[in-house]
């Protein structure tokens, strides 16, 4: 019954045409909680709030069964490239 990582991934793929997407199931298997990283040129020129709204809209029906959705990254391909470059240059501090 629960929403699967694959469902979330394929919905986002079909609606936002991402060049990179990573969906992590953070629910421990029951399908209620996901963390998402998504890169799409459809985010170009849009504020973060609007980008999150696009993700929420793509999952509108499924959101009823998703308990928690964390959009860790919603970047444009350009921003994503910069992020990758800077991550490579500076090691991430241990938290």
């Amino acid at each position: 019954m629960g929403v699967t990582k694959e469902q979330v991934e394929s919905l986002l793929k079909s609606k936002l045409n991402p060049s990179h997407i990573e969906v992590i199931d953070t629910s421990g298997g029951c399908g209620a909680s996901f963390a998402i990283e998504i890169v799409s040129d459809q985010f170009e020129g849009k504020r973060l709030l609007e980008r999150h709204r696009m993700v929420n809209a793509a999952l509108e029906v499924e959101m009823k069964d998703i308990h928690a959705l964390s959009v860790k990254k919603a970047a444009t391909p350009n921003e994503w490239k910069k992020l990758q470059d800077s991550d490579a240059a500076t090691p991430v501090a241990a938290s």
Binding site: T26, S27, G28, A32, S33, A35, L48, L49, H52, R53, N56, M63, H67, A68, L69, S70, V71, K72
Partner: protein, 170 residues
Amino acid sequence: MARPFTNVLLKGLSGVPAFCSSRSLTGSFYHNGVKYSTSIPNDPDTHEDFRPTNKLEGSGLSLKDVVEQDVKDNPIMLYMKGVPDFPQCGFSSLAVRVLKQYNFPLSARNILEDPELKTAVKAFSNWPTFPQIFIKGEFIGGSDIILNLHQNGELKEKLKDIVARKEESA
């Protein structure tokens, strides 16, 4: 003022929140860490003038009006699971932790207490999850967005004149 709560906050903040408790706490509206209860005490010694007013019931306001009033009256308005000093969800906890760094007045309502308010807030912002943060009447987003705005400096920018106003009055 924040010191006694530090332990509670840190406890709620460790690790990635995988699920949230739906248990409810008493108390409803928080402002600057002061609780404004919406329940009317049955203490006969309390003159009615001094009893807490109940904003959510009996005021003739619809819940949508309440939300509108909240975000208008409170420079930083947070709808969350739990209360700022005892968040009941890792995401709400994260939002509180970020906002508390700026040391400005923080107002919050606990949506776990009131399913109808929860529905009204979701409809108002057209946003499916909690916490939800409003700054100067503008819907900002949830915990991912507030963290991001904090990290890139936009939050500081948004809060600048609130902080300034606070210093003036101090």
